[in-house]
Amino acid sequence: MTSAAAWGTWPAVLAVLGVGLALGVLVAAVDRAVLSGTGVRAGAEVLRSGTRLLTEQRRTTLAPDPLLWRLGTASVPVLALLSLAVVPIGGRTLLSTSADLVWFNAMEAILWAAVWLVGWGPNAVHALTGGYRFLIQGLSYELPLMFALITVGLGAQSLRTTEVVAAQGGLWFVVTMPVAFVVFLASAAAFAFWGPFAAPAGPDIAGGVLSELSGVDRLLLELGRAVFLGASAAMAAALFLGGDAGPWLPGPVWQLLKTVALVVLLVVVGRRSPLIRPDRIVEIGWMVLIPATLLQALVVAVLVLTGFYA
């Protein structure tokens, strides 16, 4: 049963919105805390700088394409929240179809168009370079990400998130699918163009796709990136770490603990890794990650045939 059917449509939608914003603030706060070592005050700093962006005057450029620019900018947080619709919140997802994992993947794919538009819109060379870098990076991480998601569906014999969580009653998928787990988290950082995959917004091109954004536009894009990272951590907790399974504590608390742990892991590792240039990621993605994820899928397929997951 979906959360919309259990709690009513609007409470369920509000739950996704609230959880999404909370995850975004969590990611941004942990990021700030790891970067600056300010600890708990980082949360307040994130909210303060977010509010400051809300009141900041919007800059524009010479002869932009305002329609496509605004559309791209607004799409990023919307897609991040939509991807959260298939992530279990309190054991239920807002949407539940027989292709939940494909939905999550599709939202991330539409992000390609959104980020390219953010780069194209302002009619500025650095922003456009950032947009192109995002597409190059996308061609490198997309297939490994798809194979990682397929591996999960294979092990669970279902593409429905709640059934994937239920299928991990005996053993968490991370035990038999470590490669898929790592690739999923790395791809999350890549489609949020963050950490070692931040080249589309790199300092060498003056901030890339972010370079011409100001005020509420910048807030929307930064928020979208943070919500995408948070949603991916929550999704990884559901797909690989058994979701809300755990002893003593109630299920949602376990889901929250695992998600927070994954966010901290992502940020600590991501912020300690050097930036990888997109031309390097292409070769790593195609020569290492695609064969590795294919082998991972093969191992899981053999395990399925032997009745390991039954």
């Binding site: 002869a63 027989s98 292709a99 168009a113 390219w116 194209w120 031309d279």
Partner: protein, 193 residues
């Protein structure tokens, strides 16, 4: 035929179909390659939404996924090859307007006449509880041969296209005798050589 689905489904399909046609027309009206590309993407996404309304979630999400990636890559090449891509001067997507109008009207007439005069078969059996499972079983079962042939043909096309497009071959990378220890590539790549 139409009685099998609810009124809401019919209304949604009509509205989304109209939207996909309208955004399809926009492709030929706008004067910027980026706008034309993303109007086409909007049209594809409307078609994906029709598949959602018809309760085919897997096909719908895969359509949205594939078409978006395709349009994003296409935008790069269209902007690269098109004259005046940004629309700073008037640009048009329409070529040979008279011929294409005749062709379009002819195809529309044939299709419309065909759709409304053909004797459609009545449905045998029931819609499946889970269309994704049914699709998977069809692809991996009764239609496996044709899917494999299509897959191999597409893959061969990709490889052939890449081979034709690239100016560099293995002799450029590994020398005339193919005995170089490390390939000589203009882009260093990410793995140790």
């Amino acid at each position: 035929m139409l009685t099998d689905v609810s009124g809401w489904t019919v209304a949604a399909v009509i509205a989304l179909g109209g939207l996909s046609v309208a955004t399809g027309i926009v492709v030929f009206v706008v004067d910027s390659m980026a706008r034309a590309t993303f109007a086409l993407l909007a049209s594809f996404l409307a078609v994906a939404s029709i598949l959602v309304a018809l309760e085919l979630p897997y096909l719908a999400f895969v359509t949205a996924l594939m078409m978006t990636i395709e349009m994003a890559i296409m935008a790069v090449f269209m902007v690269m090859f098109m004259m005046n891509p940004a629309g700073l001067m008037p640009m048009t997507m329409v070529h040979n307007p008279r011929g294409s109008a005749v062709l379009g009207a002819g195809v529309f007439t044939v299709l419309t006449v065909g759709i409304w005069t053909i004797e459609w078969p009545t449905r045998r059996g029931e819609p499946p509880a889970d269309s994704t499972v049914q699709l998977g079983e069809a692809i991996m079962g009764s239609h496996m041969l044709v899917m494999l042939v299509i897959g191999v043909a597409l893959f061969a096309t990709i490889i052939a296209g890449t081979v034709l497009a690239t100016a560099r071959g293995r002799y450029d990378r590994f020398g005339a005798d193919l005995d170089a220890a490390a390939p000589d590539d203009p882009v260093p790549g990410g793995l140790p050589r």
